[in-house]
């Protein structure tokens, strides 16, 4: 025999279900709201941050520039003054303070280019990278060592001393060639104007050509 109490409760089953339904929906309204963080989760950000792949070396950058690789976008996050004094060729100046302006966001929030952040050293570029990465933007990189490293490796590469291995000499030669591409002149590479000595006129032997003397008209014919 079915328990009468159960039957009694079950006769209200639709009411009970409706009440549960409304309670669940009301729960959503009553839940304490919290600000959800936008962008990637902290663990992912950390694993991105400690990944050395986010750096690009100056040698690689020089290679990119010389080969005119169109997939790289160089963003200089230094101030405008510093940018006008010296900047890496083909870089775009977006000062760090203006990085997240609406006009500038389209430069970093995209997945077409590899974006390389550049500052004097890594410091501001790293900050820019952190902001962008936190917001989930893709393909962001930092120039390792920044403009200083660029200057001391590519523009003014250290000359290897004699006891250094051959690789260093090769590297030096590559960098030297790169720096020449970027407009550095080396005394030993400058083509010296070759003195063209005026050709000495070869002593000419004068061969007197004896002119035929006109023969006196002879009678005849």
């Amino acid at each position: 025999m079915v328990n009468r109490n159960v039957v009694k409760v079950l006769s209200f089953r639709y009411m009970i279900l409706a009440a549960i339904f409304i309670l669940l929906a009301a729960g959503l309204v009553l839940l304490p709201k919290y600000q959800k963080h936008e962008g990637i989760v902290p663990e992912k950000l950390l694993s991105n941050a400690i990944n050395p792949q986010r750096y690009i070396s100056t040698d690689k950058l020089a290679d990119v520039l010389i080969n005119q690789d169109p997939s790289y976008l160089l963003i200089d996050v230094r101030s405008e003054d510093d940018f006008t004094k010296y900047s890496i060729p083909n870089s775009v100046n977006i000062p760090l303070a203006k990085l997240l302006d609406d006009d500038n966001k389209s430069y970093i929030n995209q997945d077409q280019y590899n974006v390389v952040f550049i500052s004097d050293d890594n410091f501001y570029a790293d900050q820019a990278w952190m902001f962008g990465n936190r917001l989930g933007y893709k393909n962001l990189k930092v120039l390792k060592g920044g403009v200083n490293e660029w200057y001391s490796t590519i523009i003014n590469p250290p000359v290897p001393t004699e006891e250094m291995p051959a690789n260093d000499f090769e590297l030096y030669n590559t960098r030297k060639a790169a720096s020449m591409y970027f407009g550095v002149a080396y005394p030993d590479q400058v083509a010296k104007p070759v003195k063209v000595e005026p050709k000495k006129a070869a002593p000419t032997q004068v061969v007197p050509v004896k002119k035929k003397k006109k023969l006196p008209v002879e009678g005849g014919c």
Partner: protein
């Protein structure tokens, strides 16, 4: 964590396999709850059976309440879910045509296939009608194209366009649903019973 496939927790290739499994389960439950009967389905228009209204309204609300809870608890990123794009007049006209077909034929497209699966002849005719409709639409596509692709509103939701908090929206909708269910029960009691 979720959604599982966009976050690569389940490989993308499983997409269709999972869709088929869910589809089979959906069809089975539709059939076993009597939704392959055109009389039951049409009942919602004549007032003797509101099962369709109750089932689909409850399903939608259960889904959105569950999604919002999972989003709140961090199991699911609700912003990553697919939102069907709105083509305003296409949806209105298409909805009206489908409504007429629903009253006249007693099936909606999904349930008609369910009924075909258990061998109902009226459903087979109905599916044939759908095919003819699809054929006419494809042949006269250039004629319908401005409506089909026009009036595009983007991937909008009611909550976005009304500018209300989703939680309040769902709560009000739930209360409204329960009220509508109670009202529909009142109507059903007054309408002459139909046995089917």
């Amino acid at each position: 964590m979720g959604p599982l496939i966009p976050n690569d927790i389940i490989p993308y290739e499983w997409n269709n396999v999972i869709a088929i499994i869910i589809g089979i389960a959906f069809g089975f439950i539709l059939e076993s709850s009597g939704f392959s009967s055109s009389r039951k389905l049409a009942g919602v228009f004549y007032g003797y059976d509101f099962a369709v209204l109750k089932v689909f309204f409850t399903a939608a609300l259960t889904a959105i309440i569950g999604l919002l809870y999972m989003d709140y608890l961090g199991y699911l990123d609700i912003s990553k879910l697919y939102i069907h794009p709105t083509y305003l007049w296409g949806a209105i006209i298409g909805g009206a045509i489908m409504g007429v077909g629903f009253v006249a034929g007693g099936f909606c497209p999904g349930t008609s296939l369910c009924a075909v699966a258990i061998g109902k002849i009226d459903a087979m005719i109905y599916v044939l009608g759908i095919m003819i409709g699809v054929f006419i639409f494809s042949e006269a596509y250039t004629l319908f194209e401005p409506i089909y692709n026009g009036y595009f509103e983007g991937n909008i939701t009611l909550m976005d366009s009304l500018g209300v908090s989703p939680y309040w929206f769902v709560f009000i909708l739930t209360v409204a649903a329960v009220v509508i269910f109670a009202l529909s029960d009142q109507i059903r009691k007054r309408v002459k019973k139909v046995f089917y």
